[in-house]
Amino acid sequence: MKLRLVLVLLIVALAFSSFSALAQDPIEDWAAGIKDAYGGTEITVAVASHPSVEAFKQMIPRFEELTGITVVLDEMEEGQLGQRMLLEVSAESASYDAMMTAIEWSPLVASSGYATPLEPWIESDITPDWFNYEDILQAYRDMFLWEDGMHYGIPYAGETVFMFYRTDLFDEHGIDVPTTYDEVLSAAQYFSENVDGVHGISYRARLGWEFTYMWSIFLAPFGGMMVDPETGDVALDSPGTVASLEYIRDLWQYGPVGVESFSFPEAWDAFMLGRAAIMIEASAAAPEVENPDKSVVAGMTGYSPLPAGPAGAFSGVWGWSFAMMDDSMHKEATWAFIAYLTSEGLQEEYLANGGIVSRASALGDPDLQAANPYYEATLATLEQAAALGELGLSVVLPTPKWSQVSEIMGIEGARAFIGEISVEEAIASMQAQVSEVLSE
């Protein structure tokens, strides 16, 4: 309530000052121009249930007031949003002006012409000076780069995977933070066996994309890959792939009971409730872990980049962006909406509302680093992701068929994980099925 009052006062004050001092605020200056040109437009945006959207919801009223553009959000669970997107692509008609798209979907929306390339818009007059596209981390920007050299999304919620660990437990037992996957296994074993009510390591291993998400992190460190970057052939049957699958199966015995059915909420909760000593999970968990209303380990958690396997240390990037639909009748207003919310000028407000950090300026800010203990680990992990990219590999194959590949790997991998079939059978099956899908 108090915050709202302050905001209202602030807006009133700002509005007042714009009368008296001829709009000194660059944001209002820009918005006044937008209002003249595109005020009264209504745009519809499909979004997923995501912390960034919660942050945007608090920012949209001011955008509407400043620009006279009305924004209607259609909010869905992210899997459902993906299906809605697929249905619209199949039907070759868009009922939205903009859509929140994940890296996994970008090749499809780009190649099908559902989304429109954004370069002309980034360079257009509508884009305000305080947008600063180059400030968005390159690793995140390039997630939405398609083969034609154009970008099809403005990222605002990048995500990577790093290691969470309980500083109190590691100190108390005099154990060093693991820097290799062998050390992770032995540390996990130690805590499982020596601390009551605490398991070694938490992660997600549920059937389907969750399994693929987690496993894809472990591929490169063990020398595995999905597609050989040199020949372009499916290489799931490489020895490194087998080794990585066997490794995560070995981790299972030190995971919380039931980890074979854990999706990310269970994996995070196990760590946040103090039932796991280590967690290898999405960076999106960090703000939750640091929230004392949800987590008993807030302030007792350390963050480190991922450990090294026999073939090196690697991580990956995922993330969300706004894409603009090619069929949209209100592209100018839609672009104004996207540019406003994802701009550097509004970044501070976005982050304060619980948005996900995606810009170099914020990650490098010493004050923010001090307030958010995981910023440093994020930067270090992004270098690990870049190292993966230098090998020509990625955690998400840049193909419109990624969700098929991901489902096949997620099913066969999960079956091997619980011993329904052997690792060799699983690998052979996915090699055959993925080859079939990608060859079409």
Partner: protein, 300 residues
């Protein structure tokens, strides 16, 4: 069925029932016929969900062949899970439901209130039932609390041995009230005279139950069973939210398989083919049940 006297005088005997059925016929067949045809068409093409439909490539019955014979197809494993799930849910639900309906069919203070509140498990949205199941069956959840209190052991309901049991227990909790509701309504409409006659003749309660209640209730019991049976083979929300079909494929039932294949793996052709086979399975099993129902009705 011999009271057509009035009608026969004025118009052909089929006219009245035809007029009565017409609205239902128009509504259902208009929507369903188009849908069923398009479903069959999709089952004979190679098409990825997310491509325009004009890209569909006809492949004949290849999708069916792949599902039934390919070594990487999990169709048969899925079918086995489906059968276990069917038996594990339907039979206990029927027996428990019938027993509770009999209990509630006695003169007792509050039984109408009890009946009304028993609809609650069916009313809860399936995806929420799934989430609740996911929480209650976790290792540190409500179910294990009771197990630990009574037996001293906690079980891993998320594991491959018990996951199917967990979803079955949730289904029993959710859907037994369906049987209670219908069977209780059926018990209420039973005529009272035969029971009074039997009592005068000195029949025991057990005798009047087996000789009167059971035969009179059988048609309704079978109808309820059939409707519920078709629901089990159609609904997958609870399993999907609880375990997504895992761990491994231990809880992947046929409807869930159809969903995953069509919308997640985006193979519209194979998904539709699996869907057609699911319908064939439902239809054949239902025909058997209906034949059974008719024979019983005949004898009664």
């Amino acid at each position: 069925m011999t009271i057509d006297r009035n009608a026969r005088r004025q118009r052909p005997p089929w006219l009245t029932p035809a007029l009565l059925i017409m609205p239902a016929f128009v509504v259902v067949f208009a929507i369903a016929a188009y849908s069923a045809v398009s479903l069959f068409q999709l089952s004979t093409v190679d098409l990825t969900f997310g491509e325009p439909f004009r890209n569909a490539e006809p492949v004949g019955l290849e999708n069916y062949r792949w599902l039934l014979t390919n070594e990487h197809s999990t169709f048969w494993a899925t079918l086995r899970v489906t059968i276990s799930y069917l038996l594990g849910t339907l039979i206990p639900e029927l027996l428990i439901g019938f027993a509770i309906a009999l209990l509630l069919n006695r003169k007792m203070r509050g039984n109408s209130l009890f009946t009304a509140v028993l609809v609650i498990p069916i009313v809860l949205m399936p995806s929420m039932v799934g989430l609740i199941g996911r929480l209650y069956f976790s290792y540190d959840g409500l179910v294990n609390f009771f197990f630990e209190s009574f037996t001293g052991i906690r079980h891993n309901w998320y594991g491959k041995d018990l996951a199917l049991w967990a979803v079955i227990l949730v289904d029993i909790w959710e859907w037994t009230p369906f049987f209670i509701l219908i069977l209780l309504a059926g018990l209420q409409t039973l005529p009272v005279e035969p029971f009074e006659a039997a009592r005068v003749d000195g029949a025991s309660r057990w005798q009047s139950f087996t000789l009167l209640t059971l035969p009179m209730m059988l048609p309704l019991v079978l109808t309820t069973f059939i409707l519920r049976f078709m629901d089990v083979l159609r609904l997958f929300d609870v399993i999907f939210v609880m375990f997504a079909g895992g761990p491994g494929t231990t809880t992947t039932t046929l409807p869930l398989y159809v969903y995953r294949t069509t919308l997640v793996q985006r193979d519209v052709g194979r998904g539709s083919a699996a869907s057609i086979m699911l319908i064939i399975i439902i239809v054949s099993l239902t025909v058997i049940l209906i034949k059974l129902r008719e024979r019983i009705k005949f004898e009664a």
